[in-house]
Each structure stands twice: as C-alpha cells, then as structure tokens.
C-alpha cells in the first residue's frame, strides 16, 4: 500500500489542480469578455464617427470626406478599417488604412440593425466587425440603403490575452508549488510521531528498548498503550513458554534416568510394570503441559467470545456417550446467550475436567451451572462455573490438599488430579480461583469463579 504522505500529497495536488484550473478558466473568461466588450464599444464609437462624417454630395449620393478625424483610419495597415457599401454590396468608399486589403462582405444586417461579427482578412488576420444598415433620406425626399462597416484586427487583442494567460499560469504554478511544498512540510511534521513509533519498535526488536516511550500526541497514545500491552503480553507469553519448556525438559529427565536404570535389570520380575510406571509418569507430565491454559488475561480482549450454552451442550452430549453405561442425569443451568470472553479451549478444559470428574464420582446426578459475574467498569463479564454431583463428596481437609497440590510437575501424583491441576491453572490465568465445597446434591461441588475484566486493569 502507498504511504500515507504520498496518498495525501496526491489527493491534495489533484484538489489544487482542480481548484486552480477552475479559477484560471473563470478569470480568463472574465478577462476576454471584458476585453471584447471594450472592443465592441470602441467599434461602436468609430461607427458613430463615420455616420457623422458622411455627407451627401450634389448628385445626392453619400460620400465620405477626404480626411477622417480618426488617424488610425488614415494610416495604412493600422488595423482599424472602415468601408461603405450600397445595399447591393458594391464598395462606395473604403478607408485609407484598408488600402490593398479586401474586407470580406460578411453578413449584411437588416435595416437599422447593428451586427457584430468575426471575420478574417485574406491573410488570416482575425477581425472584429460591426455593420450597420441605414436608410439615408436625401433632400429630394428619396431614400437609399447604405451599409457602414468598421473592422478592427484582433491581433493586438489576442496577444494581450495570451500575455495575460501566461502571467496567470505562471503565478498560479508558483502558488501551487509553494502550497504543495508547504503541505509536504506540514505532513512531515504531522507524521513524525508515526516515524518515531516505527523507530522505537525497531529498537524494541533489537533489544535496545523495553517499551514505547508514551510521549505521543493524543490520537496515538491509545495505539502506543495497546502496543505496549501487546508487547508485555508477548514477553510474558514467551517467558511462560520458556519456563514451561524448561520445566518439561527437566521433569522428563527423572523418568528417563529411572528407565535407563531399570534396563539393567530387565530380566527381573515385574520389569514390565515398573517400566510402564515410568512411561505413565512421562505421559502424565506431557499431558499436564499440553493442557495448560492457552491464553493469559491480557490476550482475552482480542479473543472471540465463547458461546457458553453451545459449548456446554456439546460437552454434555459427548459425556453422555462416554458415560453411557453409568447414565448420569445431567442438570444444565446456563443462562441463555451467555458469553465468556476467553479461549474456547480453556473454557472446555474447565468445564470438561470438572464434568468428567463429577461423572466419575457421582451416584446418578450431575449439575452444571454457569452464571455471569458483572462488575462496575467491566468491559467483559466474568463467570461463575459450578459443577456438583451426588457422589461421596470430598472432606474439607482432603479438599485443601487437592487445592494445595503444587503446580510443579515433580510434585503431582501420577494418575490423579491432573484435571484439577489444569482447572486451577486456567482459573489462575484468568485471575480467577477454584474452590471445593459440599453440594446440596450430597456430593462435591467445584466452583470456578472468574472475575470480570475491568478497564482499570489495562491502564
């Protein structure tokens, strides 16, 4: 994608071009029209002069005086020409200035009408013409039609217009260039914080910096803050992975050592069982690590919400198949449309492990309920997930022991409590907690409460 500044510059240039183009067109038109109007007025004046100078001679014909008062009509090739024709088009008189030139006859106006026109001399010189047909009444009472015509070469005028245009374009080009320059400088200033973010991110990548400085304009502080959150959570995540991997690798070493030692007495009684025990232990370790929480709270806001009802239904349907023979009675109490902001896998892990345990221990009844927990200033609601059964239950001191059981692998007893340890881990990663109590069904009740996510936390 093109850079922001080039996109802005291009759009601004297009706008400027359009604006200046329109201005130039308007100015040019106004100038030409005003000029033409002035020319027409002048021609009109000359025509009036001609009419005043015309006198009938003794024969009753109209003649022009030998010298006219307008010097341009007397100077050859001056650019201002005049002629007098009778109505048949025969030239009766032509000004001295038009010597050797043939002024086209053009359109002859009706009696008493002025008619402006644009015509050309033989050599292509453009002319602005004004013709007038008059009915000249003679002394003897007769009258005759005459056509007066004045013409002025437009060469001078056209040169004037061209000069005006040149100036217009020149100045506007200078102004436009200055504006684009000023604008691009402005842009550089405006985009500086963005470039700073880029530089700072590069520095973070190279390890020279821990987080973004936060000294950004208001529009960018949000971006910078979220970026910092992301960086922090990424860092925490990679720390967690490193820790997990380390933990995993080390904890696998003990059973590996035990297996190697066992190989020495592979012919002894019970070798298979003891070897299997070590495999089970390794399996346990790997399983625990694989089922650890997928996300941390910082990531939860970007996750799609979990549709609690749908997932619980899927889970219960699955467990009905698995515990087909035992046929526990499920009582599902989930608020319609309830959503949990978190990872679907994590949610299934919480509900799945607790339900599975309940199915294992129950007499015949299992109950799961999920209700939302909402707080002031919460941007995502939390939930309270309760799973109860009618089994033998768990005595309080045993419950404490279950909850106390370490997250460290070496301490967890093989074969038991992986599910619970996973539930506890996931609850913790959502800042929640797991508690064990007695249910009104007669057995145990496991409760996971996950608090709502509030805005206060992310600041």
């Amino acid at each position: 994608m093109r850079s922001l500044s080039s996109r802005l510059l291009i759009s601004v240039s297009v706008l400027l071009l359009f604006f200046f183009g329109a201005t130039i067109a308007v100015l040019d038109r106004a100038f030409t029209e005003a000029g033409e109007q002035a020319r027409q007025d002048i021609l009109d004046g000359h025509l009036v002069g001609l009419l005043a100078a015309a006198e009938p001679d003794d024969t009753g014909k109209l003649v022009m005086p030998a010298r006219l008062r307008e010097p341009r009509l007397e100077r050859i090739g001056s650019g201002l020409y005049a002629e007098l024709r009778d109505f048949d088009g025969d030239v009766l008189w032509r000004s001295r200035s038009a010597l050797g030139l043939e002024i086209p006859i053009g359109t002859v106006p009706d009696l008493g009408n002025h008619l402006f026109g644009r015509e050309e001399l033989d050599d292509g010189t453009p002319l602005l013409t004004l013709s007038l047909t008059v009915d000249w009444e003679l002394d003897n009472g007769e009258s005759q039609l005459y056509v007066f015509k004045v013409a002025e070469s437009l060469d001078g005028f056209n040169a004037q217009v061209a000069g005006f245009r040149r100036q217009l374009f020149g100045w506007f080009a200078v102004v436009a260039l200055a504006m684009v320059l000023a604008f691009s400088m402005l842009l550089r200033g405006l985009l500086k914080p963005l470039r700073q973010i880029e530089t700072e991110i590069t520095e973070i990548e190279e390890g020279d910096r821990v987080s973004l400085s936060g000294k950004f304009p208001t529009e960018l502080t949000g971006v910078a803050r979220n970026m910092n959150l992301l960086i922090d959570s990424e860092r925490a995540r990679s720390d967690r992975y490193r820790y997990t991997l380390d933990n995993l690798a080390h904890s696998l070493k003990t059973p590996l050592a035990a297996m190697r030692a066992l190989l020495h007495d592979r012919h002894s009684e019970g070798f298979g069982n003891r070897f299997n025990e070590q495999i089970d232990r390794m399996d346990e370790i790997v399983r625990y690590q694989l089922r650890k929480p997928a996300a941390s709270v910082a990531d939860n806001l970007v996750l799609a919400p979990v549709h609690v009802e749908k997932e619980v239904t899927r889970l219960v349907d699955g467990l009905r198949k698995v515990y087909h023979d035992k046929h526990p009675e499920f009582d599902v109490r989930v608020e319609k449309g309830l959503q949990f902001r978190g990872d679907t896998g994590d949610f299934l892990e919480l509900a799945g492990n607790l339900l599975d345990n309940a199915c294992k221990w129950c007499e015949s009844k299992v109950r799961i309920s999920v209700v939302p927990s909402v707080g002031a200033r919460a941007i995502a609601s939390g939930m309270v997930l309760t799973v109860a059964d009618d089994g033998p239950g768990i005595p309080p001191d045993a419950a404490d022991a279950l909850l106390q059981r370490g997250m460290r692998l070496d301490e967890s007893t093989p074969g038991h409590g992986i599910g619970l340890a996973v539930v506890k881990d996931i609850a913790h990663s959502y800042s929640g907690r797991l508690s064990i109590g007695a249910s009104d069904l007669g057995g145990a009740e496991f409760m996971v409460s996950i608090p709502p996510v509030s805005t206060a936390k992310s600041d």
Binding site: N276, I279, D283, R287, L290, R291, E311, R314, L315, D317, G318, K321, V322, H324, D325, T344, G345, L348, E349, A351, G352, N353
Partner: protein, 228 residues
Amino acid sequence: MRLLVIEDDSTLRESLVRKLTESGFAVEQAADGKEGLYFASEYPIDLAIIDLGLPELSGLEIIEKVRADGHTYPILILTARDRWEDKVDGLSAGADDYVVKPFHFEEVSARVNALLRRSGGWASSVLQAGPVTLDMSRQDVMVNETSIDLTSFEYKILEYLMVRAGQVISKAELTDRLYDQDFERDSNVIEVFIGRLRKKLDPENSIKPIETLRGRGYRFALERNQVD
C-alpha cells in the same frame, strides 16, 4: 465381530491388530485416511477404531463422512490430543468414546467390548438371557450357574448372536463377521458350529436358545434379563 483399525503408526497398528485378533476379533486395518474411509464405508464392520491424526484424510473427516452415509456402528477414537476441545470435537462428529495415547491395550479392549455390547442394547458386560449368562470381559459362558466349555469359535458365534439377541442374523453375516478375510467360507461350517453350540448349551433341548429361521438365518431367542 469384525473390527477396523485405522492408525498410521505401524508399530502401534500392528500391535493393536495382533492383540485384538488374539482376543478373538476379525480385524481389518488401514494405514491412512483414504484407505480407512474405503474400509469404513465398504466393509461389513461392527466397530471402528480411528486415530484422529491421519495422513490423506483426518480421522474427524472419516467419522463425519461415515456418519453422514448413515453407518451407525460404534466408533472409538484414538488420539494424542488430550484437550477437551479435541475430545468434544471427535464426540460431536459422531464418535462414541475415546482413548488417549499412550494407552494400555486393556483400556482399548475394555472400551471396545463396552461399545459392542452397547450397540447391541446391553447395559453391562455380563449378558443374561433366561438361564444363559455370557461374561464378555472374561469370555465365559454359564447355563443355570454351570460353566460351559466352548471353543473360541463357538464362543464367538454365541457372543455375536447374543449381543444382538432378538435380531435375525444371516449365515452370510456370521461368516463375514467371524472369519478373517481369507478363511474358507463354507456356510456348512456355520451350521455345524451352531449344532454343536446347541448341544453344549442345551443338551436336553429344553431351553432352545438359538432359533433357525429357514432361508433367513439364526436368532438368539431367549428374552434378555436386563440388569441395571
């Protein structure tokens, strides 16, 4: 009973097939998803054991296709993926149970037996009908509390009929499900075994556990005593 094992790891597959055969099942095997789907849709199968992570076609896809085609036999998932998300995906796709790798063979065998008897409508692994009791986990048959000594093939026939008590089973189906593929297929052999079975179970010809329906097949005729 004829089982299908779809598993790409050869060590695991061969060991499973060997142990299942030893337990008295006829077993088909496939090493990838495509081949597996072919067996699963074209062969007469009583139960399929399907690994989820397969080349060519995933186990989940096989299960969905098989179920979409209307096959109802039970499906047991083998999976290395232990998260509930994966288990629930498999179960919703149409599987009936799962075993997580690494597993002990006894675990698989117990699930297989449970699923088979479940598909026949029995709630416990001890099948009781009239005076006849068949314990699937111990492969042991008693009539009126007296243990009956059966050969492995006789036991297989009885188990097959009794799991499906009340249904008519054709001779062809019995040969299909009980013999391994290349075994001699002579329907007279079935008749002979049924005859021996009748004599051993009911020497006085008083309880008549197995009915012959001429031209259609056999039926285990005793009423089930469902124990819950």
